[in-house]
Amino acid sequence: MTGLLSYKAQGIYCEAGDFFIDPWRPVDKALITHAHADHSRWGMKRYLAHHRSIPVMRHRLGEINVSGVEYEEEVNINGVKVSFHPAGHIIGSSQIRVEHKGEVWVVSGDYRTGESDHTCAPFEPVKCHAFITESTFGLPIFRWQTNESLFADMNAWWSSLARNKKNAVLFAYSLGKAQRVLAGVDPSIGPIFTHGAVENTNEVLRTDGMILPETTRITQEHKSGDIKGALIIAPPSAMGTPWMKRLQPYETAIASGWMQVRGMRRRRNADKGFVLSDHADWEGLNHAIAETGAERIYVTHGYSDIYSKYLSEQGYDARVVETEYGEEHEEKEANT
């Protein structure tokens, strides 16, 4: 990758502006697309992010030196024009637009196109010359169903368990996926409980003004049998841990785009899988890329080799960029 942005050992770098975007090693100035742990890492001297990313970043990284911007607000860094645009992925998630001497590059971070809910601003395409895209679900087997049919399935699953006095334990990442679930399910079916990691994130987001249905944190006080007919949202890292004992009797489900694939569903060993993702599906990626009008496409984490080959066939100048973003999202948060 050469030009306005380039690839260095620390991450994606803008030489003209002397800043990094989502770097994975400590640097002086880091622009952050969103607050997920693999994009927003510890150890940067100064951070710049969308202001709605900041509460979660502070919650996770402690006291950091960070400034916030609004969507579309133009910032000048050493003569380079920088602005943030909604990516539809999680709260505050942004595509970062970088402009210098008439050349425009956009770093997508993670993004999701199509339907959205109030937990995150919908994706907006940004015209550019070069676009750096993720490809987490860059295969033609990934096609998301509508929110309506997805949540109808989820509500039906929860209701039928609740009727049998069982709990419905749903594994979803605590930042992003958990709020999508909360915004989509029917809270009249029964009470909603949360694992500490999910509730901590909810608290931060509620303080920042996000409206979510009422949830109760599960604590040491809850004994087996206290909770019945509830929906319980927990991070995937809580699966199979002793923490789950107090939720009996229960059945489990996982909310993830990977649940589209039978083998993945079986490997995760849950009773059920819901195909719920905060990334773009195949059509979403193709559509988003076409909308940018870019000729050069750099493909990062996901099925980057296959997807860039596909884009080349469609006439783009596409290539793979190795990054250190990926699936490790929230491994650490089980204990918080």
């Binding site: 295969l139 033609p140 087997i141 096609r143 990977w258 589209q260 694939v261 039978r262 083998g263 993945m264 569903r265 079986r266 490997r267 060993n269 009773d271 059920k272 899988g273 099925y303 080799d305 296959i306 080959k309 596909y310 066939e313 190795e322 699936e327």
Partner: protein, 529 residues
């Protein structure tokens, strides 16, 4: 069809046996007999002949999805299952179908001999009428492989629950040479059947593995010990003037092994023998590699009969003088078997010799030499117990030899599929030949999920070159590769082929230059090939 697709997705979406059994029973209650029969047939691998070649299915699916064939193929590699890949890439259904399972299968049978264009029209039209689950099942009807987590044991249990019959009786009824065209649900499952199907084998009794804690099995005198021969477990049936040969996979393989026709003259009618089909030069067993040259072939040539002659090494007798003798104690069945084999006096029918040792320690040192006898280890059978059904703990144990091992360097990695679709988990390993690394085997299994994740990260950071889905990597990581056998092969660059290679462990304590050499492998080939 819709109801059957529902059953499959129900079975697929739970890990609990009780729920699976309940789903099966509900299905049996709700559908007509003919659909029940087809369901049983499919779950016991009695699929009609493949009506359409999978290469055509792949082409048509890519066309319908509007994607290039390479993209379809790469996607298929990641998903790992053709039926599922097709179901997922196709656009949403535009129509609906109300065909039953039986009707769908009959339609598939009907197009088997049709022209390609007709097949194409039928398959594409069916795809357009089915939702994702329906298509998945429809594709499975064509491609086969209904491994939906229903073991024959569970299928039998659900049927027993539904019909009120004994599980063991049903297990036996489900075996044999039937298809839904030759029988009915009534006949196969419900009617008393004195005459029966002459070819019907008995369910095999399978052993669990025991490791080095054999002395916990009690007094050695209570056990009958034999070699565990390295061939194909099979049942040879002589009934009503005919010979039938079954492999353990419930496959009728009579025509593949014409040698056993000699039992017509040597073994009395009403006899069923359980044993190991192996290649044997008249003097001693030949290696499994020789037998392998016969397994895939349909026709048996004179040359094969001469170069790879088979014999049956008898383990057990299940039917004697037309009577089921499985309930007799092992020791008594053994006596019967010995008399049958002796009277037969047939060079194609051998008996697995009983190994008599005074102590477990003595037995252990005898076991250590198994590979030289072309045996895989030992079988331990409790002398006073009957012949059971399926894999059961307690009375039969296999005490296998430790595998052969070699330390090798990881040089290529490919993305896994199915369960491991987003990780690099399929590896090619090499050994040293002077300064060069020579690839000699692939291996996919043996590491924990955590280890796979770490190797995956290594692969992504240490890629040298990409060739499609394969990456060559910095030759740094060393793994201990375990395998069951070794033979010469002209198809491999290294000149050798391994049997059941897998990663025994990651040798993080070793550097690449400490891995084994091609000469080490050749030495093993000389010893055990």
């Amino acid at each position: 069809m819709k109801r059957f697709a529902e059953l499959i997705s129900e079975l697929d979406s739970t890990t609990k046996t009780t729920k699976r059994l309940a789903a099966l029973k509900r299905y049996f209650v709700e559908v007509p007999d003919q659909d029940k029969l087809w369901c049983i047939a499919l779950m016991t691998h009695r699929r009609p002949k493949r009506p359409v070649k999978t290469t055509l299915l792949r082409e048509w699916a890519a066309e319908e999805a509007g994607i290039a064939t390479w993209l379809f193929e790469d996607t298929y590699h990641i998903v790992g299952d053709l039926a599922e890949t097709i179901a997922l890439v196709l656009p949403n259904a535009t129509d609906q179908s109300s065909k039953s399972l039986t009707q769908t299968i009959q339609d598939l049978i009907a197009i088997t001999g049709a022209k390609e264009e007709e097949k194409e029209r039928f398959v594409k039209a069916s795809w357009r009428q089915l939702d994702k689950n329906g298509r998945f099942v429809f594709n499975k009807l064509i491609t086969g492989g209904f491994r939906i987590g229903v073991s024959s044991k569970n299928l039998t249990k659900a049927l027993a629950d539904y019909t009120g019959q004994d599980v063991n009786v049903l297990a036996h009824r489900l075996m044999g040479n039937w298809t839904p065209d030759t029988t009915t649900f009534e006949e196969l499952i419900l009617q008393e059947d004195p005459d029966g199907d002459a070819s019907k084998p008995y369910p095999f009794y399978l052993a669990y593995a025991v490791n080095d804690e054999v002395s916990e099995l009690g007094a050695i005198e209570d056990w009958i010990v034999e070699d565990k021969w390295d061939g194909i477990r099979g049942q040879v049936i002589r009934r009503k003037g005919e010979i039938f040969v079954w492999s353990r996979g419930e496959e009728l393989v009579t025509d593949k092994y014409p040698e056993f026709q000699s039992f017509m003259d040597s073994v009395p009618d009403g006899t069923v023998i359980d044993g190991e089909i192996i290649c044997h030069d008249g003097d001693k067993p030949m290696s499994f590699g020789v037998l392998q040259t016969r397994i895939g072939r349909k026709a048996v040539s004179k040359k094969t009969l001469k170069e790879a002659p088979v014999k049956l090494i008898a383990y057990d007798i299940l039917e004697h003088e037309g009577k089921d003798v499985r309930d007799l104690p092992q020791a008594e069945r053994r006596k019967l078997l010995e008399s049958v084999v002796e009277e037969a006096d047939d060079p194609t029918l051998l008996i697995s010799a009983v190994i008599q040792m005074q102590s477990w320690e003595e037995l252990a040192s005898f076991r250590a030499l198994a590979r030289e006898r072309h045996s895989e280890g030992l079988m331990l059978k409790r002398a006073n117990k009957p012949y059971k059904i399926g894999r059961k703990r307690g009375d039969w144990w296999k005490w296998k030899l430790d595998p052969l091992t070699i330390d090798a360097v990881l040089i290529y990695a490919m993305r896994g599929h199915g369960r491991r679709a987003n990780l690099y988990t399929d590896y090619t390993f090499a050994v040293w030949n002077g300064e060069q690394l020579v690839p000699f085997t692939k291996a996919y299994s043996g590491l924990t999920d955590k280890e796979f994740a770490r190797v995956d990260a290594f692969v992504k950071k240490n890629t040298l070159e990409r060739f499609g889905p394969v990456r060559s990597v910095q030759p740094e990581l060393v793994f201990e590769i375990a395998f069951e056998g070794i033979r010469a092969s002209t198809r491999h660059k290294s000149g050798i082929a391994l049997r059941f290679p897998r990663m025994a462990r990651w040798r993080e304590d070793k550097k690449a230059d400490e891995a084994n050499t091609l000469d080490d492998l050749k030495e093993m080939l000389d010893l055990y090939g």
